[in-house]
């Protein structure tokens, strides 16, 4: 206890408080430690929020399952859902339906699940990392680097087929951009959120200019179209033999990020706040930046730069379950997968047989939906 080196009569009008006791209570509240009403109230709100969280996860999982089945059954050829299930069962007899479902649609839908979940989770984490809700996975130069890499491969005609060479070029470009941004942001020792954004945006601009320069000086105008399509993103190139790469990367990265939920939460309270709560902010930020960049680079090289998912889904998920990452990351992952599978379904059906770049649709559908979410949230008087 504190030595009473000071005379301690009452401050202000309150009755005298003796050092070593609680400050005098206000009339109407019990001076007893934690009133029973409160202890009783807390678990019930906690239980209610757990129930709500369970409901959100269940609803999203069910919606995703539905979207996957729809994604397998709809398209230029309609396959009834019953036949889709039959085709998926092991030992199903070979049939044209089975070929379409297993060889064409299933890898595409699965790639949608992986890329959607991955982009949404990377977006969520990056928003915490730079403490800005406008951040998305492409803010830090990764997509520009990927575009540059892909376009260089395209115009130089490296590799026998661009279908194989472009993803490799994209990955190399994304890695180079990451190294560049990391180096710039790390100069001077500590890595702050602001410095990371500045480095990312600068590198983005330079690489975008470079991409344009390469395209403009290319002798073949069809490169423009191809590059544009690639940079808008799409799942059309999904193939079984390449699916394991994003699959493996996500299987490793998602549990790791989930385990880092607590320090990610700490980042939300700012550099100083996180430091005094025991986080080595600069080192943690650098490590997570590298992890997220690698994941994004893999995703972008598989699908092109599908925009908006990584920006919008984290917001929507926060509106549903709050900002703490242990709750947020699974919901983001499911929501991202759902959003991209649905958007891709729309991309290949609305103008069938023409494929619309899915990035166009994520923005077209996602934008208004997002605005509506924000409005309904604001109507409840909550701070967005």
């Amino acid at each position: 206890m504190k030595p009473a080196t000071q005379p301690t009569p009452a401050p202000g009008t309150e009755p005298a408080s003796v050092p070593g006791t609680e400050p005098a209570s206000v009339p109407g509240t019990e001076p007893a430690p934690v009133p029973a009403r409160r202890t009783g109230a807390r678990p019930s709100t906690a239980a209610a929020s757990r129930l709500r969280y369970g409901a959100v996860l269940t609803a999203l999982t069910a919606a995703l399952a539905l979207a996957v089945v729809a994604g397998l059954s709809l398209g230029s050829v309609r396959i009834p859902p019953g036949q889709v299930i039959d085709a998926l069962l092991p030992g199903a007899a070979p049939s044209p339906f089975r070929t379409i479902v297993m060889d064409v649609r299933l890898p595409r839908v699965l790639l949608g699940v992986l890329v959607g979940a991955g982009l949404a989770v990377c977006g969520t984490v990056l928003q915490a990392l730079v403490r800005n809700r406008l951040a998305d996975p492409f803010l830090l130069g990764i997509s520009s680097g990927a575009s540059t890499g892909a376009v260089v491969v395209l115009t130089l005609g490296i590799g026998a087929t661009t279908a194989v060479a472009m993803p490799i070029g994209a990955f190399a470009g994304a890695l180079a951009a990451t190294v560049l941004v990391y180096g710039l942001a790390r100069r001077g020792g500590s890595m702050t959120g602001t410095r990371l954004v500045l480095a990312g945006v600068t590198v983005s601009y330079i690489l975008t200019a470079l991409t344009t320069l390469v395209l403009v000086s290319s002798a073949r105008p069809e490169h423009f179209r191809e590059a544009l399509y690639w940079s808008l993103g799409g799942l059309g190139s999904a193939r079984w033999d390449a699916l394991w790469i994003p699959g493996l990367v996500l299987a490793a990265a998602l549990p790791l990020l989930l385990a880092l939920a607590r320090p990610l939460d700490l980042l939300l309270v700012g550099e100083e706040g996180a430091t005094v709560l025991g986080l080595d902010v600069s080192r943690f930020r650098a490590a997570v930046f590298i992890l997220v960049s690698l994941v994004t680079a893999v995703l972008v090289s598989a699908s092109g730069a599908v925009g908006f998912i990584g920006l919008m889904v984290p917001h929507a998920a926060r509106l549903l379950v709050g900002a703490t990452h242990r709750a947020l990351l699974p919901v983001s992952a499911l929501g991202g997968a759902l959003a991209l599978v649905v958007a891709d379904l729309a991309a290949r059906t609305v103008a069938s047989p023409q494929d619309i770049p899915v990035g166009v649709l994520t923005a077209l559908i996602g934008g208004p939906l997002f605005l509506w979410l924000m409005r309904s949230r604001n109507a409840q008087g909550a701070v967005l």
């Binding site: 206890m1 504190k2 030595p3 080196t5 000071q6 005379p7 009569p9 009452a10 401050p11 202000g12 309150e14 408080s17 050092p19 070593g20 006791t21 609680e22 400050p23 206000v26 509240t29 430690p33 934690v34 009133p35 409160r38 202890t39 807390r42 709100t45 906690a46 915490a128 403490r131 809700r133 385990a259 880092l260 939920a261 607590r262 320090p263 939460d265 700490l266 939300l268 309270v269 700012g270 550099e271 100083e272 706040g273 430091t275 005094v276 709560l277 025991g278 986080l279 080595d280 926060r318 709050g322 900002a323 703490t324 242990r326 909550a382 701070v383 967005l384």
Partner: protein
């Protein structure tokens, strides 16, 4: 938990300017120690050196026998809690979530909060009278409510040393008195930067006075707060009397003649 704090020769330089000149001060176990001085005198810089967001250019900071600057951020956060001046931003965390972050230094990254953690949080919410705000979004709170939530977070850390920068900022007078009274009852060694000299005089066991990055006086409020010192450090005229009810020195500022 409580500990003694000893600063020796703390100097802080940045961009070729020296903000702190060889500060030496101490706080004995359980003491409430005030740090006062005009704007820009180095109070916040000194506190930052103690709670670890700045690294002093020279000098040492001991908490009991341990050199604080040699501890990693996490080990330090288990023993030193603080309320920095930057406020948690725009993300929609609830008051409970913000306060519960005070458990972080005691946890592995992947560890979940237990029932014990929840009851520590409940207790702090109750002590600061913000139980009713627990499920509110932090950004929707008033300045005073935020300040109380951040003090609650510091209590949840269960520190041996509490370092608070203007803990009464944004608070109306009732909560100013309540928070300072609460800090005194904790039994935790506390180092507080305070603007209000009358509050410092009443609630602090000892006061250290900073002026332009130098320590100019240390002692009990009675020893330190004199008209001469106020004239020298703050350039104000003041009368100081011992208040008949509180027994603490009480300052009345006089308008410049």
């Amino acid at each position: 938990m409580t500990a003694s704090l000893t600063l020796t020769g703390i100097t802080y330089e940045t961009d070729g300017r020296t903000l702190l000149h060889g500060i030496a001060l101490d706080a004995r176990p359980g003491e409430t120690v005030g740090l006062v001085g005009p704007n820009g005198s180095g109070k916040t810089t000194l506190l930052r050196c103690v709670y670890g967001t700045l690294r002093p250019s020279a000098g040492s900071i001991h908490l009991d026998g341990d050199e604080l600057t040699a501890l990693g951020p996490k080990a330090r956060a288990r023993r030193v809690a603080s309320v920095p001046q930057d406020s948690p931003g725009e993300f929609e965390l609830t008051v409970r979530e913000i306060v519960a972050m005070g458990r972080a230094p005691h946890k592995r990254f992947w560890e979940q909060d237990t029932a014990n953690d929840a009851s520590v949080v409940d207790d702090a919410l109750h002590r600061l009278r913000i139980t009713d705000l627990a499920d509110r979004a932090f950004p929707s709170l008033s300045g005073g409510e935020r300040q109380r939530a951040l003090v609650a977070r510091a209590l949840v850390q269960r520190p041996a040393l509490l370092v608070l920068d203007e803990p009464t900022n944004h608070l109306d007078i009732r909560y100013q008195l309540e928070i300072l009274g609460l800090i005194r009852t904790l039994g935790t060694t506390s180092l507080l930067a305070l603007h209000d000299l009358n509050l410092a005089a009443y609630y602090c066991d000892r006061i250290h006075v900073l002026k332009a990055g130098r320590l100019v006086a240390s002692g009990t409020p009675h020893e330190v707060l004199t008209p001469e010192l106020l004239a020298e450090v703050y350039r104000v005229k003041a009368e100081i009397a011992v208040h008949p009810t509180t027994g603490a020195p009480t300052i009345t500022y006089l308008p410049p003649a």
